[in-house]
Structure formats: structure tokens, C-alpha cells
């Protein structure tokens, strides 16, 4: 009886595992239908994601933006404010980092990199602040405003990269390169894994501490759980929502900064293929749980990396991974159903014991 809360969490983990397994089985059926062997395909996928230091590094490189944008979603959503504007915040953060990198070219890396990250966090955080204030002051739905703000930010940074800050080398929708001191060290030869993973780990640790161990995290979660109760209990819901939104935006901004400092070394007008939306999916799948975001991000990173190897080796299109991801999400939406199945099995066992 003592483990009731645990068992509810276990129920969720069970449904999640079941969803993943079912999705992989359906994926296997699709592979079979195409006349290929699912075993070789999945073996190639796993090997492609984890088969060598280079492959592991690539997996983790893909994990970095997912973790940051996933945590951004987790912080906002569990505080009851829905930040769908991560992509725009990421673009502004990326541009801010690039701006620092190609403007203050004389700074050493040890000062420059933190400065670039701070600028990126400020840009993302400030950009998230606007819809947050519109929500708490005027009741304007943040879902709508943040979605619209995405377009504004991507188009605005695109303008900046094409006109005022365009690279001197041709018109390519990119800014100047950042100074060499800003470039994050690559960790494994040829892979894109950079020292940003350590910053990301630190940030994840901080967010975990904030959300799970502090009174601020408690306040956030109570607002998300029942805002009327939070207000009744004396929590300033409006202020806390704004703070959660700023943190969320800052995390997205930092995710953008790493794309510049560790990956492209300049701002590009299409620097993110929708990382913030991927992160949002990750967070939603694990119900905005911080630990869950980290684990699920790694899993999605594996799928992404492995799918390319799979396509190369077995000629199964890497889009299969998108199908699998979508099926997981579909099943997770039916989580209650799985939990009920589990409960029924439990009930039967319990009844058996009673006799």
C-alpha cells in the first residue's frame, strides 16, 4: 500500500514502455511489408546509433538540443503556461550568440563563450517574457501568441542574416563566422559532439534541482496542477508563470547558441529544423518530467542517428523513424487505456490471492 504514488508512476512507465515496444513492432511490420527483415533493420539502427565512439558521439550531439528544448517545455508546461514559441526563442538566442561571437572578437573563449550564452539566454528569455506578460496582464492566450512569435523571430533573424549582418562572402542567409575563440571544442574526431554537452548536463542538473528540490519548483508545479489552489494557498501565480516562461525561453535561447558555437560557427537563417517542436514532443511524452526528458531525448537521439545508418545499410528510408515516433505519441495519448489494462491484470492477480 505504501507505494501507491510509485505504482502510479510505474503505471506510466509501463504504458510508455508498452507504447515504445508496440511502435517498434508496427515499424517491424512496415519493414516486413516492404520485403525487408526487421531484425537486420533494427540491428543496423542500433549499431548506427551506438556501434562506435563516433556513432555514440553523434547520438549525443543530436541529444543536446532535444534536452534543452525538452526541459524548456517541461518547466513551462508543468507551471501551467504553454510555451509553443521555443523555436522563435531558439532563433533569437542563436542570433544573439552569433552576434557576440562576430562582434567581440578579441575576447578569450573563457569570457566570450559564457557571454554568448548569457546573451542567448537573455534574448530567448526576453522574447518569452512578452507573451507571458500579455497572458497574465490581459489574459491573451499564450499558445496563440507564442506560435505567432515563432514566425516573427525566424523571419526577423532571417532579415538580419540577409541584410544588416549578412556575411561578406556572398548572399547565403548567414552571418559572419564567429571568432575562433568562441568555437566549442569537438570531443570525438569527425563527430559534431562538442563541449556543449557538459554545459547541457550542468543545466539539466540545475533544472532538476530547481523543479524537484526547491520551493520554487513546488510553487511552479502547484500552479500547473491547479492554479486556483495555488492562488488560494498564497502563491503569486502570475509572477511565477512569468518566471517559468523566462526560464523556458532562456533554455531555448541557449539551445540556439549551441547550434552556433558548437555546430555551424555562424548564424544561418534556417539553423533549426524544428528542434523546439521535437523537444516539446519529448517533454509531452514523459509528462514534463525532468529525468524523463533527459532519457527520452537520448532515445530520440539514438533513433535519429541510427536511422541514417539503417537507410544506408538496408535501404529502408530513415523516415521510418518518424513513423515510429508518431506511433509512440499516438499510443501515449491512449496511456489511460494501457493503465487500465495493467490495473485489470493486477485485479485478477489480487482476486486470485484472495481465494
Amino acid at each position: 500500500m505504501k507505494k501507491l504514488k510509485l505504482s502510479q508512476d510505474l503505471e506510466y512507465i509501463f504504458s510508455l514502455a508498452l507504447s515504445v515496444i508496440l511502435a517498434l513492432i508496427i515499424g517491424a511490420i512496415i519493414i516486413l511489408a516492404n520485403g525487408k527483415s526487421p531484425f537486420t533493420a533494427y540491428a543496423a539502427l542500433i549499431n548506427g546509433a551506438l556501434g562506435s565512439p563516433y556513432k555514440i558521439a553523434t547520438t549525443f550531439a543530436k541529444t543536446v538540443p532535444l534536452i534543452l528544448t525538452g526541459l524548456a517545455t517541461a518547466v513551462a508546461f508543468s507551471s501551467g503556461i504553454f510555451n509553443i514559441g521555443g523555436e522563435g526563442q531558439l532563433y533569437l538566442g542563436a542570433f544573439a550568440a552569433a552576434y557576440v561571437g562576430f562582434t567581440f572578437t578579441n575576447l578569450p573563449g573563457i569570457a566570450g563563450i559564457p557571454l554568448a550564452l548569457i546573451f542567448a539566454a537573455l534574448a530567448g528569455g526576453f522574447y518569452a517574457l512578452v507573451p507571458a506578460l500579455l497572458k497574465v496582464k490581459y489574459g491573451i492566450d499564450e499558445v496563440i501568441t507564442t506560435i505567432m512569435f515563432n514566425s516573427i523571430a525566424t523571419l526577423f533573424t532571417s532579415y538580419l542574416a540577409n541584410y544588416p549582418f549578412a556575411s561578406s562572402v556572398g548572399k547565403m542567409g548567414a552571418t559572419e563566422m564567429i571568432a575562433p575563440a568562441y568555437k566549442l571544442l569537438r570531443l570525438v574526431a569527425r563527430s559534431k559532439l562538442h563541449t556543449g554537452i557538459f554545459y547541457t548536463a550542468l543545466i539539466a542538473l540545475f533544472i532538476y534541482y530547481l523543479m524537484e528540490k526547491t520551493s520554487a519548483g513546488y510553487d511552479f508545479k502547484m500552479i500547473g496542477s491547479n492554479p486556483i489552489f495555488a492562488r488560494y494557498g498564497g502563491i503569486n501565480a502570475e509572477r511565477n508563470m512569468v518566471i517559468a516562461m523566462i526560464i523556458s525561453g532562456a533554455l531555448c535561447g541557449i539551445a540556439g547558441a549551441f547550434e552556433v558555437l558548437g555546430n555551424h560557427y555562424r548564424f544561418l537563417q534556417a539553423i533549426s529544423p524544428g528542434y523546439a517542436f521535437d523537444g516539446m514532443l519529448v517533454s509531452l511524452i514523459v509528462k514534463n518530467n525532468v529525468l524523463g526528458v533527459i532519457l527520452m531525448s537520448i532515445f530520440f537521439g539514438m533513433l535519429k542517428t541510427g536511422s541514417i545508418a539503417m537507410e544506408y545499410e538496408t535501404a529502408i528510408p530513415s523516415e521510418l523513424v518518424l513513423v515510429i515516433q508518431s506511433i509512440i505519441i499516438l499510443f501515449i495519448a491512449g496511456e489511460k487505456g494501457f493503465a487500465n489494462i495493467l490495473r485489470r491484470i493486477y485485479a485478477k492477480e489480487g482476486a486470485g490471492q484472495d481465494v
Partner: protein, 510 residues
């Protein structure tokens, strides 16, 4: 008056932990306006929802026009000519009156598209036939509540109802709109041969509009009588009952200084209407002031204003002499006001969160529960919550259990445990025992009395008159946002209070 058109035999409805209807026998005759009165929670709405097929009775039979009918869902009820107008309208605000009217059984064109012209025509015809005038082209969001109600009634008639159930139809209406509604009801019955069941707790309305009246109390049908034989006095007595279920508590002799004072308080409700209209009172340490009134007469807004959850329009609230007019909920809490809200699930708890998380609300920023770097002291918190669980006898598998899986009584004990544990000198308590069983009621009543004896100033708002009488030292009655009377509990009877809280003697507070 005609034959029996609906007959309920031995209807019983049990919800987990609550008997909402207890062996109810009721007969509705064809062509009558039958009023059903009772306090909140008396089981009126449940009974009507059973007739309309929204609930299934645990026991008992329903006869419609003499035939035993199993009303498994509202479609069955509609097929049998029963229509219900709910207290909260179920209209689509952005649709026109005509569109709303036909919604669910729209006239069609070419078997595929909705025929808007026909919908308008239907609306006009029905409007004229029943004398319920609405503009078919106007959007519902632009219409007054009274007109919206007409659309609801027309909608029920459009679906061919002969028996109309109106659930608290006047609760949302102005007095003029109420008069219009009564005229419509009479016309429907006298000219069109319809039968109407009206749920209300306003006794004057019953006497004015109904032919017969049934009184419900605590799930039981107390009696049915011809309205011409009834008086407000008789009905009020039947509504509030006479028996004293509980032993009386001793009175407190040690009345201290004034802790809470309210002057000329004016508060608006969510729709912007005046809900609390010039209310003044004060409460001293060691005293319980009971607010008696039928629900929806401003109690909710009064309590919210007194806890900082709702903005004041005018007037002042003094807590220990300090004006709190612009205070936030946390200011009120800091000044020593604890609050047991009327709706524990909506306001008093986070049902998805754990027992411990719900108990620690209010402690999270206090030492020793919060340490350096805002770090929560898990040990101190779990000690505190374990102590509260033990002390207030909250039956829960563990502190980690989600609150939504507790029983209503244990949820309420959780709220009481938290709010009483702050040592706040002023307690604002609303509906503390709603829906609880006798054991839990007794437990919570004793706790409230202990708090009073410990020198707290307590405001008790309750729709349960027995509760008010048992606990209060003084009683004020509230009707339409105004205090209609103030009494020492020892000097007044329930019947008198019953009259004051249903709008009689509308004078200023004594």
C-alpha cells in the same frame, strides 16, 4: 388537473458515500406546474436528472404515462416527451438563436447541408406559437440571459416535449425576467396543455406560480401538497426540518477583542453584477458568526473577498485593525486568515498532487521547511505532514498518495488539517461538511469548536441550517447580497431564519 403523467416509486440514488435520493415517491399530474423545493444538496437536481435519464437510479421505478419506463439516457426521455432546461445553459454563444434552436436535430437540405432558412422559419413559427419571442438571426452571445433561457425552452419544445423540467430557472434572472418567465409557464400549461416541473428554493415563487409543491430534505421527499394549502411558514419548516440530530455544544464565554471587521462591503460576481451589497459585520476572538442563506446569494463572493481572492468594489475589511482593501491572498494569509473553501476540489486542493504536497502548501517558504537556496527540507516536511495526517486522522495509504483517490471526508480533513495548523487567528470556513458522512461531520464540528475555544474568530458560511445553529454564537442571514437580519443563536428559531434567508423581511441588518 389531469391524470398522473410521471410517477416515481421508491427512487433511490446512491453516490459513493452519499445517498442523494432516498426512497422517493412522487407523482406529477398532467397539466400542472409542480414545484420541487428544498435546500441545496436536498437531492432535487439528482431526482430530475434521473427522470431525464442523465443518472440511473440505484433502486426504484419510473412510470411515464402509466407505463414502466427504463430511462437509460436523455434520448429515451426526449422520446417520451420529457425536456429539461438546465440551470447552466447549453447554448453555443457564437451561433444564432435559430442555429442553437435546431442544434442536434437540424433541418437538412439535399441530405447533406443544414437548411438555415428552414431553421429560421422553425424558430419564427415556434416563437409565435408559444409567444416566446426571439430574433432568430441574433447571436446568442449578444442576448440577455432571459432571452437565452427562452431559446432553451423553445429548443425543448422543438424536440416535442410535453413535460418540461426547469432546473432553478430564476436563479439567473432579474425579477422582471422572472415575472415574464412565470407568464410563459402559465401560458404553456393553460393554453398548450404542457406539464412543468420547476426546481427552486425561492418560496415566494413557489406560491406564485405552482399548482402543487413537493418538499425535499436530505434526499427524502418530505411531502407534497396543493399550493393553495401552503404558506411560506409551512414550507420553510418542511425544508429545514425540526429534529436536532446532534447534541449541542457548550457556548463560549470568553469573547475577546474584535479581530475581523467588515464595513459596507460591495463585491461584484464574475459577470460583473453586484453580488455582495453593502455588508457590514464584525467577529471577535472566541466567537463564531454563522452566515445563513440559500446558496448563490453572495456568500461565495463574500468569502472570496475576505480571503483576498476577489477584488472589493467598495467598503473595507479590517484585520486586527488594519485595512486589507488591496491585499493579495498571500497578504491575507500573512495577516492571519486561514480559509476552508466551499469547493475543496476546485479551490482547496490539487487533486492530482500528493497528500504531502497538498499539506505543505503555505509551509514551503517558511523555516525550517525551506533552507538555503530555496532547498526544501524533505525531512522537516515529512515530519510535519506525518504529524498532521496522524493528528487529523486523515485516512490515506501514504503521504505519497494522490489526493483524488481519497474519500470526500478525508479530502476535507486534509484541508482542515492544513488550514487549522497555521495558528491563524481568523478562520473563514465555507461549507465545511458538504457531502460528508455523519462521523466526519461530527469530527470537523468538534475541531471548529476547539478552534473557537482557543480564541479564534470564525466566520462560518453554510447552506446547512442545522450546522449554522449548532456551531454559531451569532447568525446573520444573507439574501441577494444583503444581510437581512442578525440574531443571537439562542434567541431565534430555524423557521424564522428560514424565512429571512428566503427573502422575507428585507430590511437592513438589526
Amino acid at each position: 388537473m389531469g391524470e398522473s403523467i410521471i410517477k416515481l416509486v421508491g427512487i433511490t440514488k446512491v453516490f459513493p458515500g452519499v445517498v442523494a435520493n432516498d426512497n422517493v415517491n412522487l407523482e406529477i399530474r398532467e397539466g400542472e406546474i409542480h414545484a420541487i423545493v428544498g435546500e441545496n444538496g436536498a437531492g432535487k437536481s439528482t431526482l430530475m436528472k434521473i427522470i431525464y435519464g442523465l443518472y440511473q437510479p440505484t433502486d426504484g421505478q419510473i412510470y411515464i404515462r402509466g407505463r414502466l419506463t427504463n430511462v437509460t439516457n436523455p434520448q429515451v426521455a426526449i422520446k417520451n416527451g420529457i425536456g429539461m432546461v438546465h440551470q447552466h445553459f447549453m447554448l453555443v454563444p457564437s451561433f444564432t438563436a435559430a442555429e442553437n434552436l435546431v442544434l442536434g436535430s437540424e433541418p437538412q437540405k439535399n441530405g447533406l447541408f443544414m437548411d438555415f432558412d428552414k431553421a429560421v422559419k422553425i424558430t419564427k413559427e415556434l416563437s409565435e406559437k408559444y409567444g416566446l419571442y426571439v430574433d432568430p438571426y441574433q447571436k446568442v452571445e449578444d442576448l440577455s440571459v432571459g432571452i437565452q433561457q427562452r431559446i432553451e425552452i423553445l429548443k425543448v419544445l422543438y424536440r416535442g416535449a410535453d413535460i418540461l423540467i426547469l432546473d432553478e430557472p430564476t436563479a439567473v434572472l432579474t425579477p422582471q425576467e422572472s415575472q415574464e418567465l412565470f407568464a410563459i409557464m402559465r401560458r404553456l400549461v393553460e393554453d398548450m396543455g404542457k406539464t412543468i416541473i420547476i426546481i427552486t428554493h425561492k418560496l415566494q415563487e413557489v406560491l406564485e406560480v405552482s399548482h402543487r409543491v413537493s418538499v425535499m430534505r436530505r434526499g427524502k421527499l418530505v411531502g407534497t401538497m396543493d399550493t393553495r394549502d401552503a404558506t411560506e411558514q409551512i414550507l420553510a419548516e418542511m425544508m429545514v426540518g425540526k429534529e436536532v440530530v446532534f447534541e449541542k455544544f457548550h457556548a463560549n464565554q470568553n469573547i475577546g477583542e474584535k479581530l475581523l471587521e467588515v464595513r459596507d462591503l460591495v463585491v461584484r460576481d464574475n459577470r460583473g453584477f453586484i453580488a455582495v451589497d453593502g455588508v457590514s459585520f464584525s467577529i471577535a476572538a472566541g466567537e463564531i458568526l454563522g452566515v445563513a442563506g440559500v446558496e448563490g446569494n453572495g456568500q461565495t463572493e463574500l468569502v472570496e473577498a475576505l480571503t483576498g481572492l476577489r477584488k472589493l468594489e467598495e467598503g473595507s475589511i479590517f484585520v486586527k485593525g488594519r485595512d486589507m482593501a488591496k491585499g493579495s491572498p498571500s497578504d491575507f494569509r500573512r495577516m492571519g486568515i486561514a480559509h476552508i473553501p466551499e469547493d475543496r476540489l476546485k479551490t482547496g486542493l490539487a487533486p492530482e498532487a500528493s497528500v504531502n504536497e497538498n499539506l505543505m502548501m503555505g509551509y514551503q517558504h517558511k523555516k525550517p521547511y525551506e533552507g538555503l537556496g530555496m532547498k526544501l527540507n524533505k525531512k522537516a516536511i515529512s515530519q510535519k505532514t506525518a504529524q498532521l495526517i496522524r493528528q487529523f486522522d486523515i485516512r490515506t495509504p501514504s503521504g505519497q498518495t494522490r489526493v483524488k483517490s481519497l474519500s470526500g471526508g478525508n479530502m476535507q480533513k486534509l484541508v482542515v488539517a492544513r488550514e487549522f495548523s497555521f495558528d491563524s487567528p481568523i478562520l473563514i470556513i465555507a461549507q465545511p461538511t458538504r457531502g460528508l458522512d455523519v462521523g466526519a461531520i461530527e469530527f470537523i464540528h468538534r475541531l471548529i469548536i476547539d478552534m473557537r475555544d482557543a480564541g479564534r474568530a470564525i466566520l462560518l458560511v453554510s447552506a446547512d441550517l442545522d450546522e449554522i445553529f449548532r456551531l454559531s454564537d451569532r447568525i446573520v442571514t444573507i439574501y441577494e447580497g444583503k444581510l437581512t437580519g442578525e440574531f443571537r443563536t439562542a434567541d431565534v428559531t430555524k423557521q424564522e431564519i428560514g424565512l429571512y434567508m428566503t427573502g422575507k423581511n428585507l430590511s437592513t441588518a438589526g
